[in-house]
């Protein structure tokens, strides 16, 4: 975006406003300086990522007052400029006596408390770290403005709940360059400190966080082999001729890149290979080359063949059961990248830089693309789980009926309720699950915690295991209860796509209706909200025996009802359900 003209952004943004659909993402901006130019730049950045974003602004210098009003936005961004904490503070703070500074600091802390408290139920708050950098970059000692910025940033960190993500403002200023980030003329004439270049960098910086919230995080890094994982061409140079590790600059560069990629995998990014090579040659290097950091077991999927890469990328996405827009593709060949860009524009393409000295930096920059709001232990397990899935698929072929096969898996569901529900994972499931999700309501850890504490809600998470391994916590249901009336409403029911096709949902629902029935519930209501991705659960409630009560809702929403005390149509006897 750096090189797109401002008017071009305005123009393209207007066009995208008419074409981008999907769930609305409302972004509210609170600020004590004028930052309105961020609006269209951020909208453009998000809309080109397929996110149906609209930015709205609080009143100028009304952060605390407007926080509650904007708190129902999906995302709230806080631009709190320390230099404008009071009128002319950037200048007056130089001569202010210490007691007065302390008093101002205390006032700001109180305002921060009020603001954070008003925003505690907002899904995501992007709170810019306080900084005095534009005003103090040349100082040899920290000034009173720096001290105050540092203190207040620490205070926000200490007070904030997990829905608050601190944005390191200085990093964005550094990426833009101070002289280009700040516009003194706009500051003096219109209380607007930052220049368009800063907003471009800011939008780029925060987009992965908003994408993660909207279930659009990139999840898979697909790598080419020759001149990407290692230097040289394996088919020509041979296993001993390729450059990886050792004491040459290029060998070192490729080894560093592999190490950074390995770190991505540790953080939960799924790795895949897509290379035109002889598969046996690549396997040999992956298993035996002494200097390789990445090994065969690090890749969840490998497509090493001579077919075109667009087709291979589609196969990789299909095998992982993920959308093409969750893929990032790294290759050294402009030809291959060009083909993928043309055929699969939703795949994010990265080119290995021509200057190898810049390669590690390019890959480090790419890390941000995979940002995920909740990083849990589950992520780190992912590659192993996908590999177990491959082993399962092989076992699948040995059975004649699907039921025989499922029976042989010895599937087990373990139920967790109340305080035993892991908040981070539960929130992550609501944020990331798009396909098996009847209402696609996105919740934060704070939201989940509120449901758990609420007397009229029940939160149930479940994990699934079979004889090949543990899938981890893969399902979540949130139920609103009115026990005196004997009524319940299914607010959320979702399941990770890893456990699809095993009748786990049916076995879980069997458990749910029995346990609700035992509590005297005779009316269970459910809703289906269609999205572009959840067609597979469109008839789920019919399968469970629900009755359709209303299908004329806007957006194709459907309402259902069921008496859980009535016997279900089908019973699954081969999945064991362990409840506390």
């Amino acid at each position: 975006m750096k090189n797109i003209k401002y008017t071009e952004i305005l123009k393209r943004n207007r066009l995208l406003a008419t074409t981008v659909a999907g769930p609305a993402c409302r972004i509210g901006v609170l600020s004590n300086i004028v930052v309105n130019q961020l609006g269209e730049v951020l909208e453009y950045c998000l809309r080109s990522r397929g996110i149906n974003a609209t930015v709205e602004f609080g009143n100028y210098d009304n952060i605390t007052q407007d926080a509650a009003r904007l708190s129902d936005c999906n995302v709230v961004i806080v631009f709190w400029e320390i230099a404008d904490a009071l009128d002319g503070f950037h200048a007056n703070s130089h001569y202010m006596p210490e007691p007065m500074l302390i008093e101002i600091k205390q006032r700001l802390r109180n305002e921060i408390d009020l603001t954070l408290s008003a925003l505690r139920s907002t899904s995501l708050v992007l709170f810019n770290a306080f900084t005095a950098l534009p005003f103090t970059a040349d100082e040899l000692r920290a000034s009173s403005l720096d001290d105050m910025a540092c203190d207040l940033t620490g205070y926000v960190r200490q007070q904030s709940s997990p829905n608050v993500l601190m944005i390191e403002t200085d990093r964005i200023i550094a990426a833009t360059g101070l002289a280009a980030a700040v516009d003194w003329r706009q500051y003096q004439m219109a209380h607007s400190l930052y220049a368009i270049d800063f907003y471009k960098a800011y939008a780029t910086h925060v987009t992965p966080a908003i994408a993660s919230l909207m279930g659009k995080a990139r999840k898979v890094l697909v790598l080419d082999c020759d001149n990407t994982l290692w230097g040289g061409v394996l088919g020509e140079d041979g296993e001993d001729g390729i450059q990886i590790g050792g004491d040459t600059p290029s060998g070192r560069a490729f080894q560093q890149v592999q190490a950074i990629v390995k770190g991505l995998q540790k953080d939960g990014v799924i790795l895949a290979l897509c290379s035109k090579n002889n598969p046996e040659d690549v396997e040999t290097v992956l298993q035996h080359h002494p200097n390789m950091v990445l090994r065969d077991t690090d890749f969840a999927v490998r497509r090493v063949n001579w077919e075109d890469k667009a087709g291979n990328l589609m196969a990789i996405a299909a095998e992982l059961n993920l959308g093409l827009d969750s893929l990032v593709f790294l290759d050294d060949s402009e030809f291959e990248l060009g083909l993928v860009r043309a055929e699969l524009p939703m795949v994010y393409c990265v080119k290995v830089p021509t200057a190898l000295t810049e390669y590690a930096a390019t890959i480090r920059q790419m890390r941000a693309l995979f940002f995920s709001l909740s990083q849990s232990a589950e992520d780190r397990q992912k590659t192993r789980m996908y590999q177990q899935a491959a082993a399962r698929r092989q076992a699948e072929t040995a059975f004649t009926s699907l039921e025989d096969y499922l029976r042989s898996l010895h599937l087990q569901i373990t139920i967790m309720t109340g305080q035993d529900v892991p908040l981070q994972r539960a929130a992550q499931l609501t944020q990331k699950t798009n396909q098996f999700n009847v209402t696609t309501r996105r919740y934060t850890e704070t939201d989940i915690s509120r449901f758990i504490d609420s007397p009229v809600h029940q939160v149930i998470a479940f994990s699934v295991a079979d004889r090949f391994g543990d899938y981890g916590i893969v399902g979540l249901a949130i139920i609103e209860l009115d026990q005196t009336a004997g009524r319940a409403r299914l607010d959320t029911f979702l399941m990770s796509c890893r456990v699809l096709g095993r009748n786990v949902e049916t076995a879980f629902f069997q458990f749910l209706r029995t346990s609700l029935g035992a509590r005297g519930i005779n009316t269970l209501e459910a809703e289906f909200f269609p999205t572009t991705k959840n067609a597979q659960v469109a008839s789920l409630f019919e399968q469970f025996g629900f009755e359709l009560t209303d299908q004329n809702e806007p957006g194709g929403r459907r309402h259902y009802v069921l008496d859980p005390t009535r016997a279900p149509k089908t019973q699954i006897d081969y999945i064991e359900v362990k409840a506390p």
Binding site: K5, E8, Q37, R185, M189
Partner: protein, 78 residues
Amino acid sequence: MKNDRIRTVMADVFGIDAGSISEDASQGTIEQWDSLRHMNLILALEEEFEVRFPEDQIDQLASFKLIALSLDELAADQ
């Protein structure tokens, strides 16, 4: 040519049809031309024409003709 470029920038900034902007256009005739968008317009014109308007003129550049005049003066100075 220059007037067409001004028209295009105005159309992009205000989100209106370039054809609807006459040379008599001013802050009074274009509804979208508020004080926030005035700054956006100045930045966009400076980017398009690679110039920098003198600070004391910015508030006064409130019509098509004044903008065109100021751009002519800046071009003559170079």
